[in-house]
């Protein structure tokens, strides 16, 4: 049975600004040791909405099981990175920019396990249109 993975950010609101230091930790919730070949942690953004997904990794770290230094994820592991100036989190109509910390665990046997912790970078929003006689619209998609 796959043990549960706990991935958490230190900021309870999960709200950050550019240049902030994002910190957190991860561990597996298990009494028994769970042999993992490697663990990969990424801080990344991806797009959602109508378009194809774009994504980029801002921070990446990988730890591997080594006979000299066995990987025991029952012991919490911390991570930290300084967040960039862009892209900021955005919740638009057909384009959304989402940030998250993604943890992938590769066990010795069985399927990989993925855990995510979402957070917001910046505090932008969809602007409210103003002006007389102005109407917002969506153009029909075209090839």
């Amino acid at each position: 049975m796959t043990p549960s993975v706990r991935l958490s950010l230190d900021a309870p609101t999960a709200q950050y600004q550019s240049g902030d230091r994002l910190t957190g930790r991860y561990l597996i919730d298990s009494m028994q040791p769970w042999t993992v070949r490697a663990a990969e942690l990424s801080v990344l953004w991806y797009t959602a909405g109508a378009g194809e997904e774009d994504m980029a990794v801002h921070h990446f770290e990988r730890v591997v099981d080594d006979p000299a230094r066995p990987l025991d994820l029952r012991v919490p592991r911390r991570f930290a990175t300084v967040l960039p100036a862009s892209p900021l989190s955005y919740d638009g109509h057909i384009v959304k920019v989402c940030w998250c910390v993604r943890l992938r665990l590769f066990p010795q046997q069985g399927q990989e396990t993925v855990a995510e912790a979402a957070f917001r970078l910046g505090s932008v929003s969809v602007p409210v249109a103003h002006g007389q006689g102005l109407r917002l619209e969506t153009r029909e998609p075209h090839s």
Binding site: Q17, S18, G19, T47, G49, A50, G51, E52, E53, D54, A56, P84, A85, S86, P87, L88, Y90, G92, H93, I94, V95, V97, G122, S123, V124, S125, V126, P127, V128, A129, H130, G131, Q132, L134, L136, E137, T138, R139, P141, H142, S143
Partner: protein, 241 residues
């Protein structure tokens, strides 16, 4: 260098006459005329080949009336493409160049900036507007087609004037102010998604109908701000270098 934020060099490399930077026009405006010319040329060449063959048959006393009548809609369509192309070319000639300048670049959310517009031509203008527009663009696959969806999320009037004339050798020139709203999303471009800010110049002129010209502007995240945006800095940036 800001990830996913387009470089501003295209604008800052081009100084303005009245204000600091002259905005380049959106390349898409030129592509409309080019595409129309290409469609017109290809369509009418093909139609001409068939018409010549049919005409030869008629002259030699071997008329093919079925094919002749079938060709009528194709010829009409060809004439329509010629008409549309001529109208587009005349529209471009009659409505002279539009020049837009801004006092500061890149722009930042919450900032108020000055703009300058110059429009030449010989025009009886019914209405003329400059709008600040933000659009989301998403590219996606549908079957084997690549499609692009656009959603306009913000549009604000920066300048509007009704019923005036523009005469040759005396361009219509005016300054205006515009604001990028607080907490607005910065310009964003990735492979399939984009958030694009534009100054859109729109107008309706007698005989020619409506026209629209787009001038991309770049809104940067506040974290990348070079200096505080104040009246002093705007005034300093307001005069061309």
């Amino acid at each position: 260098m800001l990830p996913t934020v387009p470089a501003v060099d295209a604008v800052t490399d081009s100084p303005g006459v009245r204000l600091a930077y002259r905005l380049p026009i959106d390349a898409a405006s030129g592509w409309v005329s080019f595409t129309m010319a290409a469609v017109c040329l290809v369509w009418n060449t093909l139609v001409a080949v068939f018409v010549v063959q049919l005409g030869r048959g008629h002259l030699e006393g071997r008329p093919n009336w079925l094919l002749t009548w079938l060709m009528v809609p194709f010829v009409l369509a060809g004439l329509w493409t010629l008409f549309a192309l001529c109208r587009q070319v005349l529209l471009n000639l009659a409505i002279g160049p539009t020049c837009v300048e801004v006092s500061f670049h890149p722009l930042y959310a919450g900032g108020t900036f000055r703009g300058f517009i110059s429009q030449t031509g010989r025009l009886h203008v019914r209405w003329f507007q400059v709008q600040v527009v933000c659009e989301e663009q998403a590219i996606y696959q549908q079957g084997t087609d690549t499609r692009r969806a656009t959603h306009r999320v913000y549009r604000a009037m920066a300048f509007s004037q009704r019923k005036f004339d523009i005469v040759p050798h005396q361009a219509f020139q005016t300054e205006f102010e515009f604001t990028v709203p607080n907490s607005a999303m910065h310009s964003f471009v990735s492979t399939h998604n984009a958030v694009i800010w534009t100054l859109v110049v729109r107008g309706r002129v007698r005989r020619w109908g409506e026209f629209e010209r787009r001038f991309p502007i770049y809104v940067y995240p506040l974290a990348a701000k070079r200096e505080p945006i104040s009246e002093t800095s705007l005034a300093a940036a307001g005069s061309a270098p």
